[in-house]
């Protein structure tokens, strides 16, 4: 499975890449929603981990754009963000996010959410 990490912080992308690569994902990175849109047009992405607050195109706008296009209907998306308010969680889920996790997170928390999304960790090929 191919995963895309979208976050303007290189350090967060590095941590998430290590977690996902460690459980078998091939991982791509993008620094904002616009970069991510360009990337998913070129290659199939199964899972996107999306930050909310980013320059150019934020995570919620990215999710809305993806959900408008039937070509990406199978892409699973999880918001990974500092936005902790309950109305923000609702906003992300309404936009089309499948799951929501707040920073700071641990490896175990990310894996737990992936399992909740129905993603089989042990069988995820590289």
């Amino acid at each position: 499975m191919r995963a895309l990490i979208i976050d303007d912080s290189k350090s967060i992308r590095t941590i998430l890449t290590e977690i996902l690569a460690g459980i078998g994902f091939a991982v791509e990175e993008a620094a904002n929603g616009l970069e991510a849109m360009a990337l998913i047009k070129k290659e199939k992405v199964d899972l996107a981990l999306v930050d909310w607050n980013m320059p150019d195109m934020n995570g919620c706008e990215f999710i809305q754009e993806v959900r408008k296009d039937n070509a990406y209907k199978n892409m699973r998306m999880m918001m990974v963000t500092t936005e902790t308010a309950i109305n923000k969680v609702a906003e992300a889920l309404e936009a089309g996010a499948d799951e929501y996790i707040m920073k700071p997170f641990t490896r175990e928390m990310i894996i737990e959410k992936l399992v909740l999304m129905g993603i089989s960790i042990s069988s995820a090929p590289k």
Partner: protein, 151 residues
């Protein structure tokens, strides 16, 4: 009304450091002292909306290097300024997001900015409502919550 939240800031900072970085920090009464010239990292996130102000985090460059080395899986000597600023920005961002959950809604947080400085960012029209000093492996960190003067 001024919004004080030293206890919550202490909890957030302790959680962020332990969860993300596996590093121990603890609140201290010892005041933050800059260590040498141009050796302090200052991260800042603005809060706008129903409550207006800013969250600032001050830390010596040594801490920035340790944290960046942990996050990037590198040796401290291999870490560059950009990586150090990125991690301090992200930690300030996470902290501001946590603090925002205590404030009256709706509020928005800005993207973080980080400077390598002599210490003490100037925020005209704002006053400190909470300031908490931390000890991190013998080095000091300061978190300040500033609120804009209510007109």
């Amino acid at each position: 009304m001024a919004f004080e939240c030293e206890a919550e800031i202490s909890q957030f900072v302790t959680d962020i450091w332990s969860t993300f970085l596996s590093m121990k920090v603890s609140p201290t009464d010892k005041p933050f002292k800059p260590k040498g010239k141009d050796n302090t990292l200052a991260g800042c996130v603005q809060i706008t909306g129903e409550w207006q102000g800013a969250v600032t985090l001050y830390a010596p460059k040594e801490i920035g290097k340790r944290v960046a080395a942990t996050m990037y899986g590198l040796d401290e000597k291999e870490v560059d300024n950009q990586q150090v600023q990125d991690v301090i920005g992200e930690i300030t961002n996470i902290l501001a997001g946590n603090i925002k959950s205590l404030l009256p809604a709706p509020c928005s947080i800005s993207l973080p900015c980080v400077a390598i400085t002599d210490y003490n960012l100037h925020h005209p029209g704002s006053e400190t409502v909470s300031a908490v000093n931390f000890d991190c492996e013998g080095l000091s960190i300061l978190v300040v919550l500033l609120q804009e003067h209510v007109k």
